[in-house]
């Protein structure tokens, strides 16, 4: 840059006279003011369209305080049996669903990778992924409970179904990003398709697959606490019952158990990821 253009830069001139301002994040002024105007219009619409029953909110405040307080006095004992049963069911559902989901997600993921699957297989597998990812677990759980009846089986099927979309999508992306050289090298030795997958593709995606599996295990546990609400088994049913009975000490205990397990699995997965990488 030449000397003269530096001097003529208005931002530099402003800085020299002590009136410098940082650059705005959105450089296009029309877009910037457009976004601001849109936000104001939205807030006005919001103000006139949302009605909140503030007197009901005020009534509930002491209940809210009671709930906050119960986090300091969680009651693990008096409903301990129910919590243990719910927790055991949640953990078994989580593990079984994750295993089934991953086993089914691997072929779907292989089929959904552009670089190794033929076009018809690719579109079929992508359709499965889109179907599984669009709806919330709880909606899928409602449908499966209607089909399979109440109980943990509906929960396992729900979580496995949701796992397929999640794992297959990420696995397919990982395979698409894999290096081509090892694939070509193994293919050049005359390896069969299975050998090719086993020696050229699998070693490249395995560390990430393990990391994602642990992450999904964690997600499935959290989701298992939710789908119990619609009758798909697990600790969610225990939690829902305790909240509906205003038994906040037990609810707090269940929530603390969930938080503890998620925290533990987070530490564990960090450790395993370091170990496999």
């Amino acid at each position: 840059m030449s000397q003269s253009s530096q001097i003529l830069d208005p931002r530099l001139l402003a800085a020299k006279s002590g009136r410098w301002h940082p650059k705005p994040m959105i450089s296009n002024a029309t877009l910037r003011w457009g976004i601001n105007a849109a936000v104001i219009v939205y807030l006005v619409l919001l103000y006139f369209s949302v009605d909140i029953n503030w007197s009901r909110v005020a009534q509930g405040m002491d209940r809210g305080v009671a709930f906050m307080g119960s986090f300091l006095t969680p009651d693990f004992i008096s409903r301990g049996g129910e919590i243990m049963v719910g927790l055991r069911e949640s953990l078994t559902m989580t593990f079984a669903a994750t295993v089934i989901g991953i086993l089914l997600a691997i072929p779907v993921g292989l089929g959904a990778a552009r670089n190794i699957a033929p076009a018809p297989v690719y579109f079929f597998c992508r359709a499965i992924i889109a179907l599984s990812r669009t709806f919330q677990e709880i909606i899928i759980a409602i449908l499966f409970v209607a089909m399979f009846g109440f109980g943990p089986l509906a929960g396992v099927v729900t979580l496995a179904f949701a796992t397929i979309g999640f794992m297959a999508k990420l696995l397919a992306e990982d395979i698409e990003d894999a290096q081509r050289d090892p694939m070509e090298a193994v293919k050049a030795t005359g390896a069969s398709w299975l050998q090719w997958i086993n020696y050229a593709v699998q070693p490249q995606v395995m560390p990430r697959l393990i990391g994602l599996s642990l992450y999904r295990l964690d997600i499935n546990f959290r989701e298992s606490a939710v789908i119990g609400i619609v009758g798909a088994g697990g600790i969610g049913a225990t939690l829902n019952t305790s909240i509906n009975r205003y038994d906040y000490d037990t609810s707090a205990a269940v929530l603390l158990v969930i938080i503890g397990i998620v925290l533990m699995s987070e530490y564990l997965s960090g450790y395993v990821r370091k170990w496999t990488a």
């Binding site: 940082p22 994040m25 939205y42 919001l46 369209s49 949302v50 009605d51 909140i52 029953n53 009901r56 909110v57 009534q59 509930g60 405040m61 209940r63 809210g64 709930f67 055991r88 069911e89 953990l91 078994t92 559902m93 593990f95 079984a96 295993v99 669009t134 709806f135 919330q136 709880i138 909606i139 409602i142 449908l143 209607a146 089909m147 399979f148 009846g149 109980g151 943990p152 089986l153 396992v156 020696y199 959290r222 989701e223 606490a225 939710v226 609400i229 619609v230 088994g233 969610g236 939690l239 829902n240 909240i243 205003y246 609810s251 929530l255 969930i258 938080i259 998620v262 925290l263 987070e266």
Partner: protein, 270 residues
């Protein structure tokens, strides 16, 4: 290089024998655990219900097609409520998560005890699904939009907080040093060296969470926290599966739209 001799011919192996055996043993343990889990689930399942599952599924799908379009008009206001729950919830969550992220990031946290507190809040919020927060809040503030908004906000704090504090920890230290060396105060250092570096990530994270929140807020009505989920719940309870299908189509459209918006914005800022 691990080599095994088979019929006097050396054959290359991928792993050392011990490591290979350990891996097989790991798979064996996982299989045993899976079978144990399956047994517990199987014991708690009434298998008789499954004999007619395919008939149930067929009748369910049969009653969903065609969707009952006559209720579409009545669903638009609940859909707007759902959008509001997601948007206001995201905004509330972000406002709380923003300072929390600075407390939680190793390089900007004023004190280790504050950092531990912020991390505890983030983990608690992340562990608990918005739907569970919603059940709680419906009993506290009553059914309606407000419970949904707060539930979404409480769940968003952990998500936005975690991603944002990781972004803060990954900033380039040079601008921080440069601004500090001019004699800037603590807040000025944050405003002029940290903030410009994290703003694009912050905008991206916010829009990403908004997109997720749209999905989550569609089901909050199941527990009474407002939005289109209320109509879905009513239709399910009436076994009006044609109406349920209409709700599904609307949710599908909204989710696709919000995903498109979120992808556009993230593409623009990153």
């Amino acid at each position: 290089m691990p080599v095994k001799t088979i019929n006097n011919i050396p054959v290359w192996q991928r792993r050392e024998p011990l490591k290979q055996r350990l891996i097989w043993f790991g798979y064996f343990l996982a299989l045993m655990l899976f079978l144990l889990c399956w047994k517990i689930i199987s014991d708690n399942t009434i298998w008789e219900f499954l004999t007619d599952a395919h008939i149930q599924a067929a009748s369910l799908i049969g009653r969903m097609i065609p969707p009952d379009w006559s209720i579409t008009g009545a669903l638009l206001l609940p859909l707007w409520d759902t959008l509001n729950i997601a948007t206001v919830g995201t905004a509330l969550g972000v406002v709380i998560a923003f300072p929390l992220a600075f407390l939680a990031a190793r390089n900007t946290s004023p004190h280790p005890s504050l950092r531990a507190f912020a991390l505890a809040v983030i983990v608690s919020s992340r562990s608990i699904n918005a739907l569970i927060w919603a059940i709680l809040l419906v009993t506290i503030v009553g059914p309606g939009l407000l419970a949904g908004m707060i539930a979404i906000a409480l769940r968003s704090i952990g998500f936005v907080g975690k991603l944002l504090y990781e972004a803060i920890e990954e900033i380039h230290p040079t601008p921080v040093e440069a601004v500090t060396s001019t004699g800037a105060g603590r807040m000025q250092v944050l405003a002029y060296s940290v903030m410009p570096q994290i703003m694009p990530a912050f905008a991206g994270i916010t829009v990403y969470r908004w997109d997720i929140n749209i999905r989550e807020s569609t089901v909050l009505g199941l527990v009474g926290a407002g939005g289109i989920g209320l109509q879905m719940n009513a239709a399910i309870n009436n076994l009006a599966w044609g109406q349920v299908a209409t709700v599904f189509v609307l949710i599908f459209g909204t989710v696709i739209l919000s995903e498109w918006v979120s992808a556009k914005v993230r593409h623009a800022v990153i």
